[in-house]
């Protein structure tokens, strides 16, 4: 079983390092015969696909991994994927001159995607950080990104969340009003997971995957131009748009090379508690296994 899954593969930016690594043959180089890369819509599904679908490795949201761990699932976190949630931003229509920053959200109708999703969480964290209260405005669950844009066009809401690479293709049509990196410290986003059985038996393969992905990240940093071309081809998207999106991601140091920053992960936990997704605390050492990381990326 050499298939892996990456949440929102084919859609969002998490997949870029894998796309590059596969294209450049990094997996073989590291000694791993990669099968298919499957997409999984959403964290819960990704985790289930790994746990019950028999996949070797999956990149999923930290929230899903933690939920699974806390409900007793046999899950092991082996590396970090996207190191920050700052690919998300809030936008409004260009002709809306009432909103320019998060302070202007007061009294307005602000959309997020679904309750208890990452947009819900980051919006509330941002409000907290800016010293605002959710009671001062109307928060609206829009469904998906596309539904939000429809609502915005329709005038039913005043600001909606968006993320790369959709934003890259829509820059001219909207006005950005809230970049998360402006108000929030870094918050961890995705992690790589496997099962303890695989962790025991397939350590070398996991190491190879993490190694290959890391090389992919380095390749993007070194050759953004070439990376955009490859990524656009794999995702079947426009190259210029992908270039824009990749540049934006590099700017916020989006892709981790794999190591864990527990501070950022704890911050994620704070956020999850804020929206009632988890209760209590996580003992990271019980779920994280750093032994598959290259030596130089391990903590201690």
């Amino acid at each position: 079983q050499n298939d892996i899954t990456v949440t929102h593969w084919g859609v969002l930016m998490y997949g870029a390092p894998y796309a590059i690594a596969r294209d450049q043959g990094y997996f073989e180089e590291a000694g791993f015969e990669l099968g298919d890369i499957l997409t999984s819509s959403g964290g819960g599904t990704t985790v289930r696909n790994v746990l019950t679908g028999g996949l070797l490795y999956g990149e999923t949201s930290l929230a899903a991994a933690v939920s699974a761990h806390l409900t007793g699932r046999d899950i092991v976190i082996v590396n970090t994927g996207a190191a920050t949630v700052a690919d998300i931003l809030w936008i409004t229509t260009p002709d809306n001159d009432e909103i320019d920053s998060i302070e202007d959200f007061v009294g307005k109708r602000i959309a997020y995607t679904r309750p208890q999703s990452v947009t819900d969480m980051t919006l509330r964290m941002s409000l907290d950080a800016a010293g605002l209260s959710a009671d001062d405005m109307e928060l609206i669950a829009a469904g998906g990104i596309g539904d939000g844009l429809t609502l915005l066009q329709q005038g039913a809401v005043d600001a909606v969340p968006i993320l790369e690479p959709i934003w890259a293709s829509q820059r001219d049509n909207y006005k950005a009003v809230l970049y998360l990196q402006d108000v929030l410290p870094r918050v961890a986003q995705t992690v790589g997971i496997t099962t303890s059985a695989f962790a025991e038996e397939r350590g070398d393969d996991l190491r190879a995957i993490i190694e290959a992905r890391r090389k992919g990240v380095q390749f993007i940093k070194d050759n953004p131009e070439e990376a955009a071309r490859i990524f656009a081809e794999v995702y079947d998207r426009d190259e210029a748009i992908m270039r824009t999106a990749i540049d934006a991601m590099l700017e916020i140091d989006y892709w981790s090379e794999g190591g864990f920053i527990y501070e950022d992960m704890d911050r994620k936990m704070d956020g999850l508690r804020l929206i009632d997704v988890v209760e209590g605390d996580v003992d990271w050492s019980a779920v994280v296994d750093e032994s598959f990381l290259p030596e130089d990326l391990r903590s201690e």
Partner: protein, 262 residues
Amino acid sequence: MAGTQTAYSRKDHQRAERLRYFGDVALVIVAIVVVWQVLHMLAGDVAISSPLATAIRAGELLGSASFWPHVAETAKALVYALIIALLIGIGVGTWLGAHKLSGAVAEPILVALYSLPKITLYPLILLVFGLGIEAKIAFGAIHGVIPITIFTMNAVKNINRVFLRSARVMKLTVMQTATRILLPATMPEIVSGLRVGFSLTLLGVVIGELFSSHRGMGFLVMRAIGLHDVSTMMAVTLILAVAAVTISSILLYVDNRLHRRV
């Protein structure tokens, strides 16, 4: 003489009739396109792409080599799912139709199962079938199997008893009765069931692809929704719909032929 006259005018008539029918179908299609265009003009690109843009995008997709593996994947899953749904549906349907008590017990249970939102079964499907094409096939099959079962059950239940008595008088074996009498006699209803089952099976396969896959029409739709790529989303939907209408029309034709015999 009079006979040939009638035959001739009858043929003429049928031709005119067919022309008119295709004209009517064309009108329905035009009506759909007009409504679509109006919706587009009201709602804009962000919600629904125009018929023209969608058609162009569909053309692009159909013309690109990377599109066809998706089609092949979905088609393959659909074919397997349909075969499974048909085998189980006809088998179980025949049993429930032939055995009155089982039929009476099972029918309301079947209908209740039918109305269970099958999307909630995904975790179970995943457990049993894992990832990959098996899960999609299973998802398609569970969507299609119940309507086919119900249609078959009713067909067998309502089979003209005198056919079975004829079989006995002509001293047919059980096997001969099944293949020579039961099957052909229930064929029209089974094809009707297949028409409904086909659409739902396709929907099931596509939904199955939404959850987890790396290929297939459902994957394309999901990706397009994720990327808010409205024209691709609509184009894939359009291609699905056109394919379904085409296959359904073929089945309808078969259906009409079979029913006309009876």
